[in-house]
Amino acid sequence: MTSELFIQYLLAGITYGSIYAIVAIGFNIIYNTTGIINFAQGEFVMFGGMIAITLLQFMPLPLAIGLSVILTMIIGAGIEICFIRWLKAPSVLRLIIITIGISILSREVAVHIWGESIRSLPYFVGNEVSSISIFGARISPQVLWVVAASALMFICLGIFFKTTSVGREMRACASNRKAATLCGINTENMVTLSFVLSAGMGALAGCVMSPITYSQYDMGTGLAIKGFTVAILGGLGSSGGAVVAGLLLGVIEAFSVSVVPLAFQDAIAIAILLVILFIRPQGLFGSKEASALKEF
């Protein structure tokens, strides 16, 4: 393998990896505040891309993306308020089935609105053939957008959780919901907020990746599985772990293309997921003691 090809694969891996990381962080935000794995996480990404593509007919690109993110956030809030907020101490099995149902419904809504055709946003800068040279490898400028947007989201989220009072309240809710309630934090609103945040992040990821990977009504399931793999790999609930694990999975997938047929590419991520679940369910960076306390 020449060094140019190596870098080419590496960059492709980082591109996809940063998307996986964002989806995984979306999982983590909701998991931390509620203990729910939101199986409809991938659908947020799909909605983000699809709504932006539709809005683009009426307004310039930045506005379309911004509005699409806001609309998806509203969808996220709506889902939480309609289906989750008023359940009293639901069992895990019940929540799993409800979020799966939401994911199916979202997909069906999407297919009846947008049809089965594959769409995409235009490239933010340049077009399909424009490229930048990095260490001899040629990449599309859109890749930089994806990586930059993911990094920006990760950093902003970190600042939000560390410094703002709402962020601190959400973290309090994550570490002990009952205690947070006793301290006067409205935990129900925090849960809604976590859905809003993770919907917004998913939507933005869906917009920046759309020119490269395209948007389709059924893209959510695959993304959700990979995002979940990354979330588990990095230790459920840990954002930093999700970034490392996301990049790792992206790079593994990119290099696997040279070894196994493309048709099995998805199977690799799932195989990694199964292996991790069997031998190290607390993830690469999670501690065993901490995971033993969680109710999976």
């Binding site: 794995i37 199986f39 289906f83 359940l87 639901p90 069992s91 895990v92 099995l93 019940r94 799993i96 089935i97 409800i98 799966i100 149902g101 939401i102 994911s103 199916i104 419904l105 997909r107 069906e108 809504v109 009846h112 399931t221 599985i225 979940f228 588990i232 047929p261 048709a263 099995f264 998805d266 199977a267 799932i270 195989a271 997921l273 199964l274 679940l277 069997f278 369910p281 109710e295 999976f296």
Partner: protein, 358 residues
């Protein structure tokens, strides 16, 4: 014996439907009833796994596909190029191979459906053991995702492997002769016979499971559903019980896959899709998790309606909505006592308020 008594009215219904359909010349309904019966066999197995043992599986379409695809592959792919292989010669001499001619007059040598069926079910059981040992240690979300992952891998494999026909699936699967001239096939003439074969298999499965859940094992399983730790402390071998149930439900799925594939004369990758697995889970949930009769009733009704195309292009949406609505308002199924209580209370309260106003 008492628990088997409700079988009799069911049997009467089955025969009644056939007589009515034959009498009114609407035999085409029996085709969907036959297919619905096979799907319901899978659903019964899943019901015991989910409702009684409390273990969710989002990968049961995978086991269905393993059964169907292996049986279809073995009975359609010609072994003529391997004729001189020792194993093939041995099988041929024991009469486990069928020779014939293709449509173009070429020589055809395939494995007999009986052996293929046995291999398919055995493979499903073995795979279930190997998947089940690690997977069943997981709980909740992890178990759901792991079984979902298993289902997707099976889907990818049948979609990518040439032996399984890739996107086209396998067609022209031969009939599966059982005994006394009966055979599982899609011929119009054998429609009534096949209807009874399907219901015979389903009732056999039902009786087996009814006996199982009323035995020591069944009580152990319910204990696991309530609290795994408590069941463990009471001396229930939780790991073994869970694995046995998982394998049993996988075998039920594989049997359904084998029979339905021979009945339809083919199988396609959509049978292995995630949506199929979710649909089975939805039906078990509607029937009320730990409720074999509910699962059976809902399995027949919903599959029949879906196969008749009543839901049109909203098929998946209907099952998605069913999942959400049932889980939100009646987590124990629409036949459960608490839900019926709530319904009656809801309606009587409405009446009282009306009365008060007037």
């Amino acid at each position: 014996m008492k628990r088997l008594l409700p079988i009799l009215p069911l049997l009467a219904c089955v025969i009644g439907i056939q007589i009515v359909c034959s009498g009114t010349d609407t035999l085409y309904y029996l085709t969907q009833m036959t297919m619905a019966a096979y799907y319901s066999l899978l659903i019964l197995g899943l019901c015991v796994l989910m409702g009684y043992a409390g273990q969710i599986s989002l990968g049961h379409a995978g086991f269905f596909a393993i059964g169907g695809y292996i049986s279809a592959g073995l009975t359609t792919h010609s072994l003529v190029p391997f004729k001189d292989n020792g194993l093939i010669r041995f099988l041929d001499s024991t009469g486990l191979l069928l020779s014939g001619q293709t449509l173009y007059g070429e020589e055809l040598l395939v494995i007999s459906p009986g052996l293929a069926c046995a291999v398919a079910i055995l493979s499903a059981a073995v795979i279930a053991v190997f998947i089940g040992i690690p997977v069943l240690k997981l709980k909740g979300h992890y178990l759901a995702m792991a079984t979902l992952g298993f289902g997707i891998i099976i889907y990818r494999v049948v979609l990518a492997v040439e032996y399984f026909g890739e996107a086209d699936g396998i067609s022209e699967v031969p009939a599966f002769p059982l005994f006394a001239g009966l055979s599982v096939n899609g011929n119009f003439g054998d429609r009534v016979a096949n209807y009874y074969i399907a219901w015979g298999v389903l009732l056999l499965g039902l009786i087996l499971l009814l006996n199982l859940i009323d035995s020591r094992v069944g009580r152990g399983l319910r204990g696991i559903h309530g609290s795994e730790e408590a069941a463990d402390a009471m001396g229930v071998d939780t790991a073994r019980f869970k694995l046995q149930t998982f394998v049993l439900s996988a075998v039920f799925a594989a049997v359904a896959g084998v029979f339905l594939t021979h009945y339809n004369g083919g199988i396609g990758p959509s049978e292995a899709g995630v949506m199929k697995s979710v649909r089975y889970v939805a039906i078990v949930a509607v029937g009320g998790m730990a409720h074999l009769w509910g699962a059976l009733l809902m399995g027949i009704v919903l599959n029949f309606l879906s196969l008749r195309g009543v839901f049109g292009s909203y098929d998946d949406a209907v099952f998605g909505s069913i999942l959400i609505v049932i889980m939100l308002f009646a987590p124990n199924g629409i036949l459960s006592i608490s839900f019926r209580h709530r319904l009656t209370r809801f309606f009587t309260k409405g009446k009282q308020e009306k009365g008060g106003g007037a």
